[in-house]
């Protein structure tokens, strides 16, 4: 068994593929091999999971130390160093994805000294203390097997003391106090202090993640999905990247092609000085692509090149997450992009024309799409001046009455009226309202936020980050610029342009005729070459 595989620029991928190193590490390896900017990492293959021999623990520690030395050489950071400290994530990863079933330990390498190094490196004390307390909390449960409740209670106490309901409301002093309280709780419950030695933390974290393969929830998930018990999980140790390290840092999500129209144009949301979860969660107004172009032109250019390279590597449109730390771009993961049926048809035809895929593969990808009923809609003239222009998250046009929450959508729909869900931002519990509405309009979020992704999956028109949209829930009204709309007033959304109109506009319908002709020609040729 190979002890570990480095995930470093131009390093060859594991010969055993995803079965040997897990799906996530396999994708990272392929990106690294292609010269794409993956945070330096290494992976312990799945073979470690089954090892029970007496030398295992000693061998694991030696392997981890060698792997870390490779990351240190590649990054210039030092594991346990007080100047530019290296911190790593320790993630599980099987050949078959088991979402949420196994464990991950983040920010390994932090201690009382290195946390100050992270503050000096990033200038963000809140990030540093929050990362450290998350390490203690995660390590306590996953590695030391301590109960979650005492640590959760400390968080609850900290929230109450700071008079806030969300951990985002805690400042760096609150988080520092919370960290010290967690250190004390750990020492009391474990019977020994939280390990300050980064290598001790790493060995513990890797062992804990391997053990999570045998956790009851992982075992029952495998039984339900007929995943072989012997497969085991790999463990990936990867450099932590901080998107909130200052003005030349940030995080984003990108699509290599427009997931709503299929147009071949890099399509991304980026926000300066935030972590990736803020982008995916739609907590900030997004769409910083113009600013990124202006502030970090090299990163902007590189993203365009990365997009082309990823498609060449995977032969499909990709949805990838990236982080910029102090002006350097890193790709965190990539996967096949979700898309509307219209976009799927456009992409398939374009990719065949570009020579990226064959007509046979294109036809395979279009299975399940009802081409006979595929249409796109637009507004018929005359079209009035828009109230605002928001960002397009999902294509099409929609008219309906303003509904300010899922209950209102339900009420209007039951009365036979089309409703448009107008929200500050959507949350996962809005799913019923989104499903029933003809369109969604939000004040915040980005084209890649949850609202946008869900709306595209459900084929709903969706506009996000609408400028000037203010919602008065108690008055049951909203305002867009100077125009006040009561719940029940009509509005129209144009998912092609992002325009929002007052009133109900007439709708025209179109079909992707040119694309359908090309698809028909492939089918005819396929029958000619493979007659039944």
């Amino acid at each position: 068994m190979v002890e570990f595989y480095p995930i470093l620029p131009n390093a060859p991928p594991a010969p055993g593929g995803a079965a040997e190193v897990g799906g996530k590490a396999w994708n990272l390896m392929r990106m690294a091999e292609a010269g794409l900017e993956v945070p330096p990492a290494f992976v312990l293959p799945t073979g470690w999971c089954a090892r029970t021999d007496p030398d295992r623990d000693q061998d694991l520690r030696a392997t981890l130390a060698t792997g870390i030395a490779g990351i240190e050489a590649a990054t210039g950071l030092g594991f346990g160093a007080d100047r530019n400290p290296l911190t790593v994530s320790v993630r599980s990863g099987g050949a078959v994805s088991m979402p949420g079933m196994m464990d991950t330990v983040l920010d390994v390498g932090l201690n009382a000294e290195t946390v100050l190094g992270v503050i000096r490196l990033t200038g963000n004390p809140r990030l540093a203390w929050d990362s450290y307390r998350r390490l203690i909390q995660g390590y306590a449960g996953i590695v030391s097997g301590l109960a979650d409740a005492p640590f959760d209670a400390l968080v609850t106490t900290a929230l109450a003391a700071a008079n806030t309901t969300s951990e985002r409301g805690l400042d760096f002093r609150d988080l520092r106090r919370l960290t010290h309280a967690m250190e004390e709780a750990y020492a009391r419950l474990a019977g020994h202090p939280f390990p300050a030695d980064p290598y001790e933390q790493l060995a513990g974290a890797a062992g804990g993640v391997f053990r999570s393969w045998d956790s009851p929830k992982a075992v029952s998930y495998r039984q339900m999905h007929a995943i072989p018990e012997a497969a085991g999980t790999a463990v990936t140790v990867q450099t932590m990247i901080y998107g909130n390290a200052g003005g030349e840092s940030g995080a984003g999500v990108a699509f290599t092609r427009n997931p709503a129209t299929g147009e071949r144009k890099l399509y991304f949301d980026f926000q300066f000085n935030v972590q990736g979860e803020d982008v995916v969660g739609g907590r900030h107004r997004m769409g910083g692509d113009e600013r990124l172009h202006r502030v970090l032109p090299l990163v902007w250019d590189r993203l365009a090149a990365v997009s082309v390279k990823l498609e060449a590597l995977t032969t499909d449109s990709q949805d990838f997450e990236f982080t910029v730390q102090s002006g350097r771009l890193y790709l965190l993961q990539t996967r096949c992009a979700e898309r509307t049926p219209w976009a799927a048809v456009t992409m398939a035809v374009d990719m065949v024309e570009e020579g990226l895929i064959t007509p046979a593969i294109a036809l395979e990808r279009l299975q399940g799409i009802d081409l006979k009923t595929l249409t796109r809609t637009s507004f018929a003239p005359p079209i009035p001046a828009p109230l605002a222009t928001a960002q397009v998250a999902s294509l099409g046009v929609a008219t309906g009455v303003v509904a300010l929450d899922p209950d209102a959508v339900r009420r209007f729909t039951k009365a036979g009226q089309s409703a448009i869900l107008v929200r500050r931002e959507t949350v996962t519990s809005d799913i019923d309202g989104i499903a029933m509405a003809t369109g969604i309009l939000t004040a915040s979020g980005g084209r890649t936020s949850h609202a946008a992704v869900v709306a595209r999956q459900l084929g709903k028109v969706c506009l996000v980050a609408c400028p000037g949209l203010v919602i008065a829930e108690t008055a049951r009204s909203c305002r867009i610029g100077e125009t006040v709309l009561a719940e029940g007033d009509s509005i129209s959304l144009n998912g092609d342009t992002g325009d929002v109109y007052k009133g109900s506009l007439a709708v025209l319908t179109e079909r992707p005729d040119a694309a359908l002709t090309a698809i028909a020609a492939w089918r005819a040729s396929d029958k000619h070459h493979h007659p039944r």
């Binding site: 100047r83 200038g123 809140r126 760096f172 200052g246 900030h284 915040s444 203010v470």
Partner: protein, 248 residues
């Protein structure tokens, strides 16, 4: 014995009549007193010499006060952390609706109030001649008022305002980096900390210049004033450190 040890270790940080807990905090005061009582009791019981017991008390006192410069830098770091938190409230408030923006403005005001005790603790230190850490922190402290004013504004923010707020947060981070690195200078053999420090100070000046170059408006004007305060603080800290280096 305790008075002597404190005077020796804390230098000008504490003066006759000061309450120990006001200078080093209640927790550390309790720990120090418990430790000293333990040392002296153990010393008496074991028949230790007065000199040995005095040295042990000095060592315990040194741990409580730490080197004076490091203690003052830690206070300055906390002050910079509070300014960073206020800058974040401005930025986040300008992303939110009115009610949430008010919540951020209230929080910014409370955070600004917490800077005063830190300044008071720094002022208790020795009065150095020339540009000092205290002067730099006082200069940065002038950013708090315009930041709170910016957070409390109710007119709708423009995209350029939001860009200025983002940049101000970056500036606040560079100020934290600069203060952090100044404590590292001389600790590493390769003097990398000096370069880290100079890069951070340059970041402070660059961010302030970028904010100054943004189109005028009430909100951006507030941030421009805050940026200028930081820039002045950066100049003072740079002069302070370079002068200290010149004097070895």
């Amino acid at each position: 014995m305790l008075n002597e040890a404190i005077a020796e270790m804390a230098g000008g940080a504490i003066r006759f009549g000061d309450r120990l807990c006001d200078v080093i905090g209640t927790d550390r005061t309790l720990t120090l007193l418990q430790t000293v009582l333990q040392i002296t009791s153990d010393g008496c019981l074991a028949g230790a010499t007065t000199a040995l017991t005095a040295d042990r008390v000095r060592a315990a006192s040194a741990q409580s006060f730490g080197p004076e410069a490091a203690r003052r830098l830690a206070i300055a770091g906390d002050h910079a952390g509070l300014l960073f938190e206020i800058a974040c409230r401005v930025r986040d408030g300008w992303q939110e609706e009115q009610a949430d923006a008010r919540r951020h403005a209230d929080r910014a005001r409370n955070l600004a109030a917490d800077t005063a005790p830190l300044i008071a603790r720094l002022e208790q230190g020795r009065a150095d001649s020339g540009p000092t850490l205290l002067a730099a922190v006082l200069a940065a402290d002038l950013a708090a008022l315009p930041l709170c004013r910016a957070a409390a504004r109710t007119d709708p923010p423009q995209n350029s305002d939001r860009a200025a707020a983002d940049r101000l947060v970056s500036l606040a981070q560079n100020w934290i980096k600069a203060l952090g690195q100044t404590g590292q200078i001389g600790r590493d053999r390769n003097n990398l900390a000096i370069d880290d420090f100079l890069i951070a100070i340059d970041g402070v000046a660059s961010d302030a210049r970028l904010i100054a170059a943004l189109s005028p408006g009430a909100r951006t004007d507030d941030l421009r004033i805050a940026g200028a305060a930081y820039a002045a603080a950066g100049s003072l800290l740079r002069a302070h450190r370079l002068q200290a280096l010149a004097h070895g």
